[in-house]
Symmetry: C2
Subunit: 421 residues, 2 copies
C-alpha cells in the first residue's frame, strides 16, 4: 500500500498554543483512501525546520501533505522553502492572481500588495483553488526523487492552514485526484463499530477467541478506548477482504449486541437525534451536574430542533423547585443528589415541555461537595417515559470535565436503550 | 536555550482515531520552563518507527519526551525498543514491582502475569512513579550521545499514554527535576494576554508601530488568533527582560483596554465566574441556538454553582413561552430570532431565577432556517440587569459548531462588559 506523512507547520502548534486538529482530520481522510500513515510531524514556521522535515519525509513516503504557511505574511514560508528545496523556480500564475483579486473585489476591499505572493506557483505544480480564502494549495510530483534510496517518486501536497479552507479544498479537489494517483492496491475493506457501556478488556475478552480464525486468514483488529466509548476496527485486504470483515462484524454484533451504538464516525447524540426523528418523538432534559453539556451535544446535530424541545440546567435547589417542580420536602429529606430527586426532575421536564422522553442528571462533579455516603463522582440519571419514571446510580470518580463527559455518555445511552428497547 | 522534542507513539493517533491532546499539554508545560520546541512527531506502535524517531530526535534536542507504549500488552514497545537503541539492559526493579502489586491488592484484583514487564527498568534510568496506573515513567541521560555531532548529552523521558496518569506524573515528579536539569539560561520572562472582540490585524495595527522600539531592544511578540479570541504573547531574555515585558504589557493595556479579558490560560467563563463571585452576584441563562453551550462552559469552572443559578435551553417556541414567559404575540409578529424576543428571554430568565444578570441568545445556527432578512448566522444576544434590558444583533456566517462557539464568546463577553462597566 502507498504510504503518507503529514507535516503541520506553525509555531503556535509547536508551542501548544493551538490544538492540532488538522492532523486528525487529514489522517482519517487519507486512511479512508487505503493509504498507510508513516508519521506526523509539527514544525516551526522557519525555512530550516520546514525543509528538514520535508527532506526526511521524502526519504520515506509516497505522499506528503504539508499544512500551513501559504498566506501572505512574513512568517508564511512553506511555498518558497519547498520550491527552493525542490529546485523549482516560482512563476506568477495569472489564473491564481485573477482569483485572488476577485476575492477582494467581491468583498469590496482593496487588494493588499503583499497578497500577490500567493499567486506564485512552482514550475510544474498543480494548483488547488481556494473557495474560502486567498492562498491556493499546490501539488507537485517529485520525480526523480533523489532523497529516496529507491528513487521512487513522491507527491507533495501543500494546503493552507485554516480548516474552513483546507477541508473543502481537500474534499473537492485533492481527494478525487489522490484516488486516481493512488488506486487501492487490490481491495481494502475496513469497518469501524462504536460501542459504549463496556470496557476495552471486556470487549477483547468476549471476541478474542472467536476472532482467531479470522485473524489467521488476514483480518486485522484494532481496539481504541476513548472516554466512555470503545471503537472496534476490522480491516482486511485482497479478494476475501469483504467476506472477512462482514463475518467479523456479524460476530461482534452477536456478542456485543446493543453495546454497539454506531459505525464510522457516528456519535451517540447523532444516533439519538436520528432515532427520535424516525419515530417522530421528542425529548427534554433536566441537567444539574452536567451543566448543559448533554443539551450542547444534542444541539450539535443538525436537525436537532425538530425533536429536542428544550432543557433546563438547574444548578441550584431553587431552580429545581421553580423550573422543574421538584418537591422542596424531597430535597430536604433525600438531598439534591438522590434517586427521588432525579426522578422528579425527569418527570418535571417531561411534563413542562410535553415531550415523549425526558432525561435528568443530578450528581457531584467535584472537586468539592462530596460526603461519605455520596462521594464526589456520585450521580443519579433519571428517565421519564409515557409509562415509567426510573433513576439509576452511577459512580464516576474522575476530574470535573471527564465527569461531565462520562455522565453525559451514560445519560444519552440510557435514552438510546429506551429508544431501541 | 535548551531545546526539546515530543514524540507521541500510538497507531490510533497516526490513524486519526484519537485527537492528540498530549502534545499541546506537554508543549505548554515545557515552554513554561523556558525550553524551546524543535519538533513534535507521532509514530506508530512499531519498534522500527519508535527507534527511528528517537534516533533522529537525539541528533537535535536536549530533551526528548516520548509518550505511550509503556503498558503491558504486546503493542507496548517503547520501553524495550528505546533500551535496545541505547544499548541498556533491562533489569527487574523490586520497588516498581511492589508498587504494581500493591495497585492490584488495593483494588482486590489478581495481578496478571503480563503486567510484570512494566517493572523492567533500563540500567541507570530514573523511575517516575505512577499514582494512577501501573506503568511507571522512565528518564535516562544519554551521555555520551553518539547521535549528536557535538556529542552533547540528551535526556530522554518516557511517560505513559493516559492523560490521567501522564499529567500528575509530569507535574509532581518530572517538572521539578527538569527545572534543576535545565535552569533557565539567564532570565526568561514571558506574558500572555488574551483578548476578545478585536481581530488579529486590528490588534497588530494598533500596537505594531509603538512596539518597534521594544522589539529593537529584544522583545519578542507573538499573535495567535483562535476562534473568537486573539492571544498576544510578549517574551524577552536577559537582564532587561522583565522591564521590556512590563512595558509592552502596559502599552497593550493602554491601547486595547477592556478587549483584554485575561492572562495566561484564563478563559472567558472563568473570568466571569470569578468576577461574579467577588461581587456576590448571580447569573441565569436563556439559550436557544447555542443549545446549552454557554451553560456548559460556565459550569466547567469549579465554583460555578455559587453564582450560576441555572439556565433554560428553549429550542422550541413552546419552550420559550412555557419556560421564559415570552409573549406568543411577539413570537408571531417579530419571529423567534428578533431583538424583542431576545429581550423577553433575558428578562424571563432573570425573573424566573431571581438572578442579578441574565443573558439570552436566539439565532439561526444553520445549515437551514435562514431567510433573506435573517440569513443563517444571524443572532440576537440579550442582557437583563436590575436596570435595563437590551439586545444586540451579531452575524456569524460560519458552520454550526463554530457558530455556537463564536456566539457563546460574544454572549459571555457582553456579560463581562456589564460586570466591569
Amino acid at each position: 500500500m502507498a504510504t503518507f506523512e503529514i507535516i503541520n507547520t506553525g509555531t503556535e502548534l509547536l508551542l501548544g498554543r493551538t490544538l492540532n486538529t488538522h492532523h486528525q482530520w487529514l489522517a482519517r481522510q487519507l486512511c479512508d483512501l487505503a493509504l498507510t500513515p508513516l508519521r506526523q510531524s509539527a514544525v516551526a514556521d522557519t525555512g530550516v525546520a520546514i525543509q528538514e522535515a520535508v527532506r526526511e519525509a521524502l526519504t520515506r513516503a509516497d505522499l506528503i501533505v504539508v499544512t500551513g504557511g501559504l498566506g501572505p505574511t512574513s512568517d508564511d514560508l512553506t511555498r518558497d522553502k519547498i520550491a527552493e528545496l525542490l529546485g523549482q523556480p516560482l512563476r506568477l500564475n495569472a489564473a491564481v492572481l485573477a482569483k485572488i483579486s476577485q476575492f477582494y473585489v467581491s468583498r469590496n476591499r482593496p487588494m493588499p500588495e503583499t497578497t500577490k505572493v500567493q499567486a506564485m506557483v512552482p514550475e510544474g505544480a498543480r494548483v488547488v483553488m481556494n473557495q474560502h480564502g486567498t492562498a491556493p494549495g499546490l501539488a507537485m510530483r517529485v520525480q526523480p526523487n533523489p532523497h529516496r534510496a529507491s528513487g521512487a517518486p513522491s507527491w507533495l501536497v501543500l494546503l493552507p492552514g485554516p480548516p474552513r479552507e483546507l477541508r473543502p479544498m481537500f474534499t473537492s479537489q485533492v481527494r478525487p485526484w489522490l484516488r486516481e494517483e493512488f488506486p487501492a492496491n487490490g481491495t481494502h475493506v475496513s469497518r469501524t463499530l462504536r460501542t459504549t457501556g463496556l470496557g476495552e478488556s471486556q470487549i477483547e475478552e468476549s471476541l478474542a477467541a472467536q476472532l482467531t480464525t479470522l485473524t489467521s486468514r488476514g483480518l486485522e483488529v484494532g481496539y481504541c478506548a476513548q472516554m466512555g466509548q470503545v471503537e472496534l476496527r476490522f480491516s482486511a485486504q485482497g479478494a476475501t477482504a469483504a467476506a472477512l470483515v462482514t463475518e467479523a462484524e456479524a460476530l461482534a454484533r452477536r456478542e456485543l449486541g446493543p453495546a454497539i451504538f454506531g459505525e464510522g464516525d457516528d456519535t451517540l447524540e447523532a444516533v439519538i437525534i436520528h432515532r427520535l426523528t424516525e419515530r417522530r418523538q421528542t425529548v427534554a432534559l433536566a441537567e444539574s451536574c452536567t451543566g448543559g453539556m448533554i443539551s450542547h451535544r444534542l444541539t450539535n446535530v443538525p436537525g436537532a430542533s425538530a425533536v429536542f424541545l428544550g432543557g433546563m440546567v438547574t444548578y441550584s435547589n431553587a431552580a429545581k423547585v421553580e423550573l422543574l417542580g421538584v418537591d422542596p420536602a424531597t430535597l430536604a429529606s433525600e438531598g439534591a443528589v438522590s434517586e427521588a430527586v432525579a426522578k422528579q426532575m425527569a418527570e418535571g421536564a417531561r411534563r413542562r415541555l410535553k415531550s415523549d422522553y425526558a432525561i435528568s442528571v443530578t450528581g457531584i462533579a467535584g472537586p468539592s461537595g462530596g460526603t461519605p455516603n455520596k462521594p464526589v463522582g456520585t450521580v443519579f440519571i433519571g428517565l421519564a417515559t409515557a409509562q415509567t419514571v426510573t433513576a439509576v446510580r452511577h459512580f464516576n470518580p474522575v476530574d470535573r470535565e471527564t465527569f461531565k463527559w462520562m455522565t453525559s455518555q451514560q445519560a444519552l445511552d440510557r435514552l438510546r436503550h429506551a429508544l431501541i428497547g
